[in-house]
């Protein structure tokens, strides 16, 4: 192909024969390549190359700013994540935290988002007013959310949550160290994450609900289905694919948790062991241990988890279309 110099001429001349429809004409070569080039180059440089760099670095024992040459260690970094007593304790705990986060957040946040979306979809009066409030936290940067909630969850009896609990129970329950105690620390992080994220899922589900044709509800009512039966037999199947998508998003999000964990551990007195995440381990390996190889191995591991979740979701969607 003479795409460089001749292409504009070819493109110009062939455009006159548009209506002739020559199937193999490549008349947009120059424009196509030039238009896609900036984005494609950026993506290659800042996503694809670092991805392969992560894979490569994870196979070496390599440090930042070190004169000592990198030593090839094969899969040793990965094996050590799971077996080396020095490393694996914190790493496995982080992995467990991410799993617990996912297992709690998926049903709670999706369920709440579904409930709110169904309520908003009833088209009661002033429903948009409520929608605004439900969605508002979504625009809050997580760094700010973490700081606000760090005060709400403050361990002193002056913390808002402690005051509320004390008020409700008439002073029976003493002030709790919500973030510092290993029993409640992760739950606290989950709570503020749901507060920030539920509006996001809600509007996605709401859009799915609005796509369900009204005739299906009418048909169900003709069959004398009550509200609950309509919900189970019309609403849920109608938003099935949306729900699968929301589950995917939520699961992936649960494995990418970082900002709130970092800020609460570093500045909010959160229990490090109970709230650290896989990504927190990765940045720690880099900043505290100067171990670029291990940090990269954790990054690749994180990527593999996300890909597996995505593949499972694709499979679930495909099963649906085969039904």
């Amino acid at each position: 192909m003479a795409e460089s110099a001749l292409a504009p001429a070819i493109a110009a001349s062939s455009s006159r024969f548009r209506r002739v429809r020559r199937p193999r004409s490549n008349r947009d070569d120059t424009a196509g390549i030039l238009m896609s080039l900036p984005a494609v180059l950026g993506l290659i440089a800042f996503i694809a190359v670092p991805f392969f760099a992560a894979v490569a670095l994870s196979l070496f024992n390599v440090q930042v700013n070190q004169i000592r040459p990198a030593v090839f260690v094969g899969l040793d970094q990965y094996i050590r994540l799971f077996t080396d007593p020095v490393v694996s304790g914190a790493f496995l705990r982080s992995l467990l935290n991410n799993f617990v986060f996912a297992i709690v957040v998926i049903p709670v946040q999706t369920g709440l988002a579904l409930l709110l979306a169904v309520l908003l979809n009833r088209k009661l009066r002033s429903v948009r007013f409520f929608r605004t409030f439900f969605f508002m936290p979504v625009v809050f940067p997580m760094a700010l959310v973490a700081v606000i909630w760090r005060l709400i969850l403050d361990r002193s009896s002056d913390g808002l949550l402690n005051s509320s609990v004390s008020f409700i129970t008439g002073g029976l329950v003493p002030a709790q160290d919500w973030l510092g105690s290993s029993a409640t620390a992760l739950g606290s992080v989950i709570l503020l994450s749901i507060w920030q994220g539920v509006g996001f899922q809600m509007v996605i589900i709401l859009a799915g609900l609005q796509d369900i044709p009204e005739e299906r509800y009418e048909a169900a009512r003709l069959d004398r289905a009550n509200g609950w039966q309509q919900f189970i037999h019309v609403t849920i199947p109608g938003v099935r694919n949306t729900l699968i998508f929301v589950l995917l998003l939520t699961t992936i999000m649960a494995f990418r948790v970082y900002d709130q964990a970092y800020i609460l551990i570093r500045t909010g007195g959160a229990n490090e062991n109970a709230t650290q995440t896989v990504l927190y381990q990765a940045t720690n390996a880099l900043s505290a241990d100067n171990n670029l190889g291990r940090a990269s191995a954790i990054s690749v591991f994180l990527f593999v988890v996300v890909v597996i979740i995505t593949l499972i979701q694709r499979r679930m969607l495909r099963q649906r279309s085969e039904d």
């Binding site: 110009a12 455009s15 548009r18 490549n26 008349r27 070569d29 424009a31 196509g32 390549i33 238009m35 896609s36 984005a39 494609v40 950026g42 800042f46 996503i47 670092p50 992560a54 670095l57 709110l116 908003l120 009833r122 009661l124 409520f130 439900f134 508002m136 979504v138 625009v139 809050f140 940067p141 997580m142 760094a143 700010l144 959310v145 700081v147 606000i148 005060l151 403050d154 002056d158 913390g159 008020f167 507060w195 509006g199 996605i204 859009a207 998508f245 998003l249 992936i252 990418r256 970082y258 900002d259 970092y262 800020i263 570093r266 990504l279 940045t283 880099l286 990269s296 994180l302 890909v307």
Partner: protein
């Protein structure tokens, strides 16, 4: 209430509506309470912020915290108050504007132009959508270690965005082809068709991508944390964490800073609310 309908079905409907409003009101209070706490706290004396329910009372309000935060952030060591806002504005602005340009062009090239290697490159783009930035951030710090502590390093990785390309692509596919064909018959080339026909007809797509990009770039935390240590290039969310970690913390000032941090997004959200919500919902359904 002479018109009160007392048929059983009407009563049931009213009860159901009352229950729905009650649930929504409770949730709305939970959603708004932390926001109210932030804003009212930013106007209260610092020792009254962390003070049980007292933190909720709108008493003793003043702008003192805003002035004090400005004073507290006015040296090279702490960084300058306005500098953090300037940094975040510049970073977000460049990412959004440059991103709209390069990703819309690419989306159009994939959706409508016929060029060599297009389909293979498109498969690559779709594959890149699933790579989370978090999983490549660390090797990227190593690759870009020469650009540490610059604004440049905080923008450049986020301009080309696979998901934005995909959103533009799906939108452009749905623009009637006849429009473009007519323009081509009038002698417009690929660039002309894109600039004069496609872009003016794709305002919703540009709005969606702009909103989503702005939201994520304004809140960025991990990347600046990894790549900056100089307060002169530090963006707002990172400064939020630094500021709140100072001992002893001054909660009034921290909340004043936090309020100003979120104010631009909040204002844009309240004005373009419908777009925000449609953007988020629409992006998900296409993805």
């Amino acid at each position: 209430m002479t018109t009160l309908n007392l048929r059983p079905s009407a009563v049931r409907r009213r009860l159901a509506a009352a229950r729905d409003y009650l649930i929504m009101a409770v949730v709305a209070i939970i959603m708004v309470a932390p926001i109210y706490y932030l804003i009212i706290g930013s106007f209260k004396p610092s020792e009254e912020v962390l003070n049980g329910f007292g933190g909720f009372l709108p008493v003793n309000l003043s702008f003192d915290n805003y002035l004090a935060a400005f004073e507290a952030l006015s040296s090279d060591a702490t960084g300058y108050f306005w500098r953090f806002f300037f940094n975040s504005f510049v970073i977000s602005f460049v990412i959004v504007v440059a991103g709209l340009i390069v990703n819309s062009m690419a989306g159009y090239a994939f959706a409508r132009l016929n060029w060599i290697g297009r389909d293979n490159v498109f498969v690559l783009i779709v594959l890149l959508i699933i790579v989370p930035f978090e999983s490549i951030a660390i090797p990227l710090t190593w690759l870009m270690s020469g650009q540490r502590d610059t604004l440049f390093v905080q923008m450049i990785p986020f301009i080309g965005n696979a998901f934005s390309v995909f959103l533009f692509y799906t939108f452009f596919l749905n623009i009637p082809k006849s429009l473009e064909e007519a323009a081509r018959l009038d002698g417009l080339g690929s660039w002309g068709v894109f600039l004069r026909i496609v872009v003016p007809n794709a305002k919703p797509a540009f709005a969606t991508v702009a909103i989503l990009t702005f939201l994520s770039s304004w809140g960025q935390f991990l990347w600046p944390l990894l790549m900056t240590s100089d307060p002169a290039v530090r963006p707002l969310p990172l400064q939020m964490s630094v500021f709140s970690g100072q001992l002893p913390p001054d909660w009034g000032e921290v909340f004043a800073f936090g309020t100003l941090l979120v104010l631009p997004v909040l204002i844009v959200f309240l004005i373009f609310q419908r777009f925000f919500i449609q953007s988020v919902a629409g992006s998900a359904l296409k993805g």
